[in-house]
Symmetry: C2
Subunit: 339 residues, 2 copies
DNA sequence: ATGAAAGCGCTAACAG
DNA sequence: CTGTTAGCGCTTTCAT
């Protein structure tokens, strides 16, 4: 399929000017006579010219595209990632920003050593100018690999170890405070939490915000159980919680899926939500709205965060920004029926 | 950020050979003395050479990447698409095939006139060698635009009007037969269906397969209500069905979400599933497993279909295949508790 | 304001 | 089996 379209040369001949002039018009460089601009534009229309990205990239040393890498461990990554609308919002935000620049992201999954290597190679070969990385786990070797290769990189979420890499993140601590304060404000006296694995920085912050808020209200050692972000793990954690602390009247789950699991167990054990036990989730994912009852939850401005991520990367690629930046976003409480 | 790495020239100098020889080694072309191959490999390692994609693309007239376009109308495309794990499976399948070739897809959403134009432009500029298109709606103008631009294209799902474009698709008719036969085999005597809008070819086929199977068993005018693929529409359709035909003992919904909606209504009206009314869905999406009761449903081999789609495109790009191909895949019944 | 010319880094004939 | 050579299509000084 050698679709060889017209080149600058063809347009130049058609318009009776030089390649350089056509190039200037195409790239909107000033210092071109308006009359000639028209001439060239018509020639472009007539020939159906479309600039060749590869040629342009070769000379400008810029691919004009960025990589969007979903990084983590495990193989069913795609299925899991896409099942979560969170990632859809990330994509939406990134696309929204990139679109205005005529750019599209190259999608990559880096779930294995080999996949990571491939991703880094792709960047080193100039396939993209930089990387937008969404890590599933906190301890992700990819950012370091990217940094070693000198690839401009911006992360979604703070890495577990401080690294000189730009990133955007939610203020998880503040989000957990919001949740805890809401539970307290409704009059809950015995509040527990289903936290996520603590190797994830966000999980740590959410637990911290929760504990500090409760401590501020005089509740010092709230029951804590661990889940793994799944519905089943939330249900199990809730079961343990109920067994050990039958008097619980409020639960903060570190994500919506676990909150949903908790709700199922609560209803099966005859507790009314929110009258007997109030439940607050985190993320405002799709299940939050379809859950019974609909979940009160903490929402991140994911699209704005993702757009900012793309913007930071662009600045880094252009060389406008040389120091890594770290942007923290404010969460928002979405009140529904569960609390 | 002008990360300018070593070039072929540098490696050639380091190894004491010509650029051409290094190129041959890099591209695995035979006819190179094993000794020299080693020499070159070491030089590559020492210099940390990575071939420049743009330069290669320029001369080979091949970007070495494909576009993965989610096409449809409406604006919340990303959110909707990602809410359904179906798309995740498509991505998984595509990535699985592409990965072995060191390729990554460029992700694009074409939900508006402008977005479609941008997508086509990107392809025309050689940003990708071809397009993998997943249409949300049946009547999608994108395939035609792509064809007009001479872009190699493969669709997921048959377009509503016959077009000379390659595509992969499920045998929806056979899938509906599977569902209907299962309901019949369980002893259901009064079976209804909640179909999807008929401007979608798949919906038409599913209805056809359902009707023909029932007719074969002597049931000639089964109750049919329309839904729009959403949970709410499924619930509403079920409500109507129950009002008009109280004796119903089996329901085939054209997708899982509608089946879930139907289940909710059935339970609310005191019908036991599957004892009083058996329910079969379609797609084996995430809700199928979490629905109460878990849904018996029809599964498409999405990953295999997506991989095949990528393979067809590659053949088309390489010029191996010139005629549009149409591949139909066999569905599989997944039996859970709802029927 | 416009044109001429020099590459960007690579592959692919074509010689040898 | 290896090297020489000629571009791929574009941007960008540098003259004019």
């Amino acid at each position: 399929m050698s679709r060889r379209g017209p080149t600058l040369e063809d347009v130049a001949r058609e318009a009776g000017v030089s390649r350089a002039t056509v190039s200037r018009v195409v790239n909107g460089v000033r210092n071109v006579d308006p009359g000639i601009q028209d001439l060239v534009r018509h020639a472009i229309d007539r020939t159906g010219y479309a600039p060749n990205r590869a040629a342009r990239a070769l000379v400008t040393r810029r691919a004009g595209s960025v990589a969007l890498i979903v990084s983590g461990v495990g193989d069913a990554v795609a299925a899991r990632v896409f099942a979560d609308p969170f990632f859809g919002r990330v994509v939406s935000g990134v696309l929204g920003y990139l679109r205005a620049r005529g750019t599209h992201p190259v999608l990559m999954f880096a779930e294995s050593e080999q996949a990571r290597e491939q991703a880094v190679d792709y960047l080193r070969q100039g396939g993209a100018d930089g990387a937008l990385v969404v890590s599933i786990h906190g301890a992700d070797p990819l950012p370091q690999l990217l940094a070693d290769a000198g690839v401009p990189t911006v992360l979604f979420a703070r890495p577990d170890r401080p690294q000189p890499v730009s990133h955007v993140d939610l203020d998880h601590y503040a989000g957990a405070r919001l949740a805890a304060e809401h539970l307290l404000a409704r009059g809950c006296r015995s509040i527990a939490t289903i936290r996520a694995p603590l190797d994830i920085p966000a999980a740590l912050d959410r637990l911290g915000g929760f504990r500090d808020t409760l401590a501020g209200a005089g509740q010092h050692h709230p029951p804590v159980e661990e889940g793994t972000f799944t519905l089943a793990s939330g249900a199990e954690a809730m079961t343990r919680l109920l067994a050990d602390h039958p008097g619980i009247d409020g639960v903060f789950a570190a994500n919506d899926l676990m909150a949903q699991g908790a709700c199922q167990v609560l209803r099966e054990q005859g507790r009314r939500i929110p009258q007997d036990v109030a439940v607050v989730g985190f993320d405002d994912s799709a299940v939050a709205a379809t859950c019974r009852p609909p979940l009160t939850t903490v929402r991140q401005p994911v699209e704005r965060m993702a757009a900012t991520m793309a913007e930071l990367l662009e600045e880094q690629v252009r060389g406008v920004r040389t120091e890594p930046a770290s942007m923290l976003f404010a969460p928002e409480l979405v009140v529904r029926e569960s609390a």
